[in-house]
């Protein structure tokens, strides 16, 4: 049988899925054990016990200075910023992206502009944001929006343009006005793609969030990582990184489930 036609069974699939994670953990274990055997005070690759200790300290013991449980207060601060940024970007992308995709006049007006804006490196704008909006929440959320909204707008506009022309013609022959066609034909077909687009932007959104937090903040997961870096606290940094990854993975998965539940037809289509 050709390789392209051999498929793993269910059990094998599960085993294969776990294998790279396991290998990574084992490799780390060996590396850590080797370094610690040489120098028991080595900070670079802490042992499992070291992690457990640090996690316990960050998550389950109140901070002496503020009385907060740091992991949770950091998570809350970061997620509020992240979701605010993602939410605002989604609304902007939906409105402008649909308009660009649908209306030739707005396309002529905005499409080149958005294309140019999306090429501006967002991090280069960060100082400007800090100067204009101050060091508070606004500038961090704004960075996320500036970082991901242009890409989302372009993606959605393309998706609208990709819809078969025949569908829109058909809707016109059913007597639909521009508004009605937008509402009943384009929007429902764009929403599942918007969710997919949003999933792809979770990574970049975290990037911009952590960058902003690293530079100026007093809370947040990115802030904490860059703070403890000064003390080479790998035992804190690693769990934080894993935690951020986990949050991103869960968000990604949840969004996909939402798409399947709310738009069952979009899943049928990908199978068909």
């Amino acid at each position: 049988m050709r390789w392209i036609n051999t498929r793993p069974g269910r059990g094998t699939q599960l085993a294969l899925m776990l294998l790279p994670f396991l290998l990574l953990a084992v490799a780390y274990g060996f590396g850590s054990a080797a370094r610690l055997a040489e120098n028991a005070n080595d900070k670079l690759l802490p042992s499992l016990a070291g992690f457990a200790d640090a996690i316990d300290r960050m998550a389950f013991v109140a901070d002496q200075r503020t009385g907060d449980y740091l992991l949770w207060s950091d998570t809350r601060a970061s997620l509020v910023r992240l979701f605010a940024g993602l939410g605002i970007s989604t609304v902007i992308a939906l409105l402008i992206g649909m308009a660009i995709g649908m209306l030739p006049y707005l396309r002529a007006l905005l499409s080149p502009f958005v294309a140019v804006i999306s090429m501006v490196p967002p991090l280069a704008l960060l100082p400007i944001l800090f100067i204009v909006m101050g060091l508070g929440e606004t500038s961090k959320i704004a960075l996320i929006v500036i970082g991901i909204a242009p890409t989302m707008i372009r993606d959605l506009a393309l998706r609208v343009l990709e819809l078969p022309r025949e569908q829109i013609i058909k809707a016109e022959t059913l007597g639909g006005s521009s508004w009605q066609i937008a509402l009943r034909v384009l929007l429902p077909q764009i929403l599942p793609r918007l969710i997919t687009c949003l999933r792809l932007q979770i990574g970049p959104a975290w990037l911009f969030l952590i960058a902003a937090e690293a530079i100026s903040s007093d809370s947040g997961l990115g802030y904490r990582i860059f703070l403890v870096r000064r003390y080479l606290s790998m035992d804190v940094i690693f769990p934080y990184v894993v935690w951020i990854t986990l949050l991103a993975v869960v968000t990604n998965y949840a969004l996909d489930r939402i798409r399947i539940v709310v738009f069952p037809w979009s899943e049928l289509e990908t199978q068909g």
């Binding site: 078969p164 025949e166 569908q167 013609i169 058909k170 809707a171 016109e172 022959t173 059913l174 007597g175 639909g176 006005s177 508004w179 009605q180 509402l183 009943r184 034909v185 429902p188 077909q189 738009f263 069952p264 037809w265 979009s266 049928l268 289509e269 068909g272």
Partner: protein
């Protein structure tokens, strides 16, 4: 119920002349089959009848009025593909036209208005043989079922003109015969004028009351750009088919075989009818 008058229509895309000097009068309630080689401009012609595109020169009148410059509810269409909405169920697809016309802002019906519309939609769904599939999505239907759905969806608007662009090209012969029976019945029962593009001569002769052939008169490669296609044959089916009138001669004649012998008459007829313009 409406007459289409096409007068000296030319269509050019940039330098390429696609159609030249096409003149045709389609009587109310006629069933015209449009045939011709691939790429000769049949779909282009249909798009002009739809109002999706404007002729470069010439005029198209519908019931004596100039053709609107955009598609509208009086002209229905079924394309070869992509005619139905993948995000709506069968029922939702058929309802959509009603919802557009009855609900300006929300484009959605509720309560009694919805119940009435649903009832009408269900009748049409039954009419095209799709009852029982109301809650399915188009991807869950076969190709033939999707085309029947597209028909039902267009019919709920009660269009004056129904345009079909190779609607049954991809279907197997069995399903096609079924849909042909359906098309005949619809043509007889409704008031529509039908223009159908097809590659299948048998289909053309089975369904139409008149067959119009497009062809390039000059088709050498160096002439392709400069000369468009035009009407080269215009055959009225004999004995005549009329909407709403069952054929007395052979109620279910069903293929080109019977017509092979009439070829000369057909050509003569075409001479007559082109003189008529």
């Amino acid at each position: 119920m409406s007459e289409l008058v096409i007068q000296n229509v030319w269509k050019e895309y940039g330098d390429q002349i696609v159609l030249e000097n096409v003149s045709l009068t389609v009587a109310s309630r006629a069933f015209v089959a449009l045939v011709g080689p691939s790429g000769c401009g049949k779909s282009t012609f249909l798009r002009m009848l739809l109002g999706q595109e404007k002729p470069t020169r010439g005029t198209i009148l519908i019931d004596g009025q100039p053709m609107p410059t955009e598609p509208g509810p009086d002209r229905g269409i079924v394309f070869q593909r992509y005619s139905v909405f993948p995000h709506l169920t069968v029922l939702g697809n058929v309802l959509l036209g009603k919802e557009f016309s009855k609900s300006r802002h929300k484009a959605k019906l509720f309560g009694a208005a919805r119940r009435n519309a649903v009832e009408e939609a269900r009748d049409l769904i039954t009419e095209v043989g799709l009852s029982g599939t109301e809650q399915k999505y188009p991807v869950q239907l076969s190709g033939g079922m999707q085309q029947r759905l597209a028909l039902a969806q267009a019919l709920i608007m009660k269009p004056k003109v129904l345009l079909l662009d190779e609607p049954f090209g991809a279907l197997d012969p069995g399903i096609r015969a079924e849909i042909h029976t359906l098309m005949k019945r619809l043509w007889h029962e409704t008031q529509m004028t039908i223009v159908m593009v097809t590659h299948d001569m048998r289909e053309a002769f089975t369904l139409a009351s008149r067959i119009v052939a497009f062809e390039r008169r000059r088709d050498r490669p160096e002439e392709k750009q400069r000369y468009g296609a035009t009407i080269t044959n215009d055959i009225a089916i004999w004995p005549p088919r009329q909407a709403g009138v069952p054929s007395i001669f052979s109620p279910d004649r069903d293929g080109p075989v019977a017509f092979l012998g009439h070829r000369r008459d057909d050509l003569a007829l075409s001479g007559e009818s082109s003189e008529a313009h």
